[in-house]
């Protein structure tokens, strides 16, 4: 396996990425799915980062950009310091191996005509992960056990003979087979039953802890994001509302959008008051459809004139936290790219 030449090289990096769909000179239907987004996933310090947003926040666009499935309108996606559109064949293969993905739907990713073994054997062959059939079998069985599946219960079966949770864990096993450096998990537990979610999340946490794999956990569900991640990035309509260590963002949310999001979650707690708790006032700019400034201004009860006029910069409210909201304008302004990576001990240059 190729290792980065320099320890300073970041594994995956998005630099001021903007993605616009539609458009053209006379087309009014331009949708900015992601705006000026930057983040770094470091190879040397495996982390679990959660990217949380509702539908339309740009979270799936971000996953597709990271995987090279779509190109940014402006900005760059870098792998080991190189723009992924300029990778050589060899580098591309290395990229495909080191950056794995787990998709949302454990029903659609399988070919129903093949046994599940096929989905696991293919990468072993393609990337020559084993020297002999016996070695391949061993690797497979050990990997399945690694995610808590019994090989005798799973191998030799067709996808329809397995439950959604089992299928999703096989996908986790498949990602693990490659011993990648990073796994992009796009809503990996949203389609499986609650009683199995905790198990699959635990699997992902083990990949991070035992194999040093970085995880980018993309979800709409703040509760599972809180459960699994160390850092969290809250997206709203293609922009970062708030970023920071998960404990402080969830326990003391700053951005009015994050506060709304957390308050809206119904918890399995008979003492929570959920219905009728939505007592926020409307935004003073509720009727303004297209806001030039903060995208949340027309829903925000705290919105001020400046919010609708100019998009707020990122204010660094704590060592490891930034919020894009004028309520925190007394804090120093900071660059997003310095906040969407693990806090540094020594500055990373690339």
């Amino acid at each position: 396996m190729e290792r980065p030449k320099s320890k300073m090289e970041s594994l995956l990096k998005l630099e001021n990425v903007t993605k616009i769909f539609g458009g053209g000179l006379f087309n009014r239907h331009r949708i900015t799915a992601l705006e000026n987004f930057s983040m770094t996933i470091d190879a040397e310090r495996p982390s679990i980062t959660a990217l949380v947003g509702e539908s339309g926040s740009g979270k799936t666009t971000l996953a597709r950009l990271l995987l090279g499935l779509t190109r940014p309108t402006t900005g760059r996606v870098m792998y080991m310091g190189k723009d992924i559109t300029t990778l050589t064949r060899r580098e591309r293969k290395d990229f495909r191996r080191n950056v794995q993905v787990i998709f949302q739907d454990p029903f659609e990713v399988y070919n129903p005509f093949y046994k599940v073994d096929h989905a696991l054997n293919l990468p072993i062959r393609k990337f020559k992960l084993a020297q002999s059939p016996e070695e391949a079998r061993d690797l497979l069985e050990n990997t399945l056990r690694g995610v808590g599946l019994l090989p005798e219960d799973t191998l030799g079966r067709y996808p329809h003979q397995l439950s959604g949770g089992q299928r999703q864990r096989i996908m986790v096993a498949r990602a693990l087979l490659m011993r990648p450096k990073v796994i992009v998990a796009d809503e990996p537990v949203s389609m499986i039953d609650a009683s199995l979610r905790a198990t699959v999340l635990e699997n992902l946490r083990e990949l991070n802890r035992d194999f040093g794999i970085s995880i980018l956990y993309i979800t709409h569900d703040l509760t599972t994001a809180y459960e699994i991640s160390e850092r969290i990035i809250v997206l709203y309509k293609g922009s970062v509302a708030e970023v920071g260590d998960v404990e402080s963002v969830v326990q003391e949310p700053e951005h009015p959008y994050t506060r709304l999001l957390i308050r809206s979650i119904p918890m399995a707690d008979p003492d929570q008051k959920w219905l009728g708790s939505h007592t926020d006032q409307d935004s003073p700019f509720a009727d303004t459809l297209n806001v030039a400034g903060c995208k949340f201004a027309n829903r925000c009860p705290h919105a001020m004139t400046v919010c609708v006029e100019t998009a707020p910069p990122y204010f660094k409210t704590a060592t490891d936290r930034a919020t894009s909201c004028y309520l925190y304008e007394k804090s120093p302004v900071v660059d997003l790219k310095d906040m969407t990576r693990l806090p540094d001990k020594s500055p990373v240059t690339s």
Partner: protein
């Protein structure tokens, strides 16, 4: 004390499959008081949606309702003719289907879809009266009157779900069955739609049966919960009892698997998954269906299927662990 508005007795629904008969709902009983909100939770395949469909007699072949009784305001729905049943649907018992995205007719305006339901139930008011009624319905679910002339593709997910609520309440039913009414919506929108639904349900004095797997949502919306596992109710109790003092080992593990927002720095336990897998309905173990996954199983669990019995006031469970307790059989109802 008032009488239950809906009583389900020993309901059994089966599907004929090429590999044999599968009993998706196997002896489900519960009852519902006027204006009560009852939740039915369970994993996929546990029979919760089949139960909901059976209440409305909407089970389609190869599924059949084998036996049981569904009493709504004095009539046994399972013995009505198809025409009598059609009149009951919407007017007395209505349904908000799962995934509003796909349950509206894509080529009819909202107006026409609401009118369809009303006309089918003998509402023959002149056009302008109907239009007023529709504007009022839309207003009650928080939509502008102009939505009446729109097609489903012009509406957002939350708006579509509001339209299905407007249809469900259009005839003022006694019982509303809502099958995961907000599972496709973003959490902020879910809260708003749920507030609308509950507000209307209270205003109409209707009862609500809510189907779902989101225990958080259930905890916040209903007052009693029935937990289903492999086609059977394994526990029925108040939200507080189910969450804080569950009796059945499955409910206990389910509650332990729920994510929590309690600070990770101070809490005492982490959510953990339930070991093992849901059994196939084609190949259920003898005795209790949860036995192979149950950490507390005892000898008789592998031979005798435990019946659902009252163990505490307001709390019913189907588990041999409570064999020594003073028990009472019958239909789980609100005390």
């Amino acid at each position: 004390m008032s009488e239950p508005v809906l009583t389900i007795k020993d309901l059994r629904v089966s599907y004929q499959t090429p590999k044999g008969k599968v009993r998706a709902v196997d002896g489900v009983s519960f009852s519902l008081m006027p204006s009560e909100r009852f939740g039915l939770v369970g994993e996929s395949g546990s029979g919760k949606t089949t139960t909901a469909l059976a209440l409305l007699r909407l089970i389609k072949p190869p599924g059949v309702i084998e036996s049981g009784e569904v009493h709504l305001a004095g009539k046994n729905l399972l013995s009505l003719s198809e025409e009598q049943m059609r009149r009951v649907r919407l007017a007395e018992l209505s349904m908000i289907p799962q995934g509003a995205m796909n349950s509206l007719n894509p080529v009819a305006t909202v107006n026409n879809q609401i009118i369809d339901g009303l006309r089918d139930h003998g509402v023959n008011s002149p056009k302008h009266v109907l239009n007023e009624r529709i504007a009022d319905l839309l207003k009650r679910v928080g939509l502008e009157p102009s939505v009446a002339d729109m097609y489903p593709h012009e509406l957002s997910g939350g708006m579509k779900q509001r339209v299905t609520i407007a249809i469900a309440i259009s005839m003022g039913p006694k019982v509303i069955v809502a099958d995961e009414p907000t599972s496709a919506l973003d959490v902020v929108i879910q809260m708003q739609v749920m507030e609308t639904l509950i507000g209307l349900q209270e205003e109409l004095g209707a009862s609500l049966v809510m189907i779902g797997h989101d225990m958080g949502l259930m905890a916040q919306v209903v007052s009693r919960i029935g937990v289903m596992y492999a086609g059977k109710l394994v526990e029925v109790g108040t939200v507080r009892d189910i969450l804080l003092s569950p009796l059945h080992p499955y409910t206990q593990l389910l509650v332990e698997s729920l994510p929590s927002m309690e600070s990770k720095l101070t809490r005492t336990r982490r959510p953990r998954g339930i070991p093992g897998i849901t059994p196939s309905l084609l190949d259920l173990p003898a005795g209790c269906a949860f036995r192979p996954r149950c950490p507390k199983a005892i000898e008789q669990c592998s031979t005798i299927t435990p019946p659902l019995e009252k163990v505490r006031a307001d709390q019913w469970t189907a588990c041999h662990l409570y064999g020594e307790t003073e028990k009472q059989d019958g239909i789980p109802a609100k005390a």
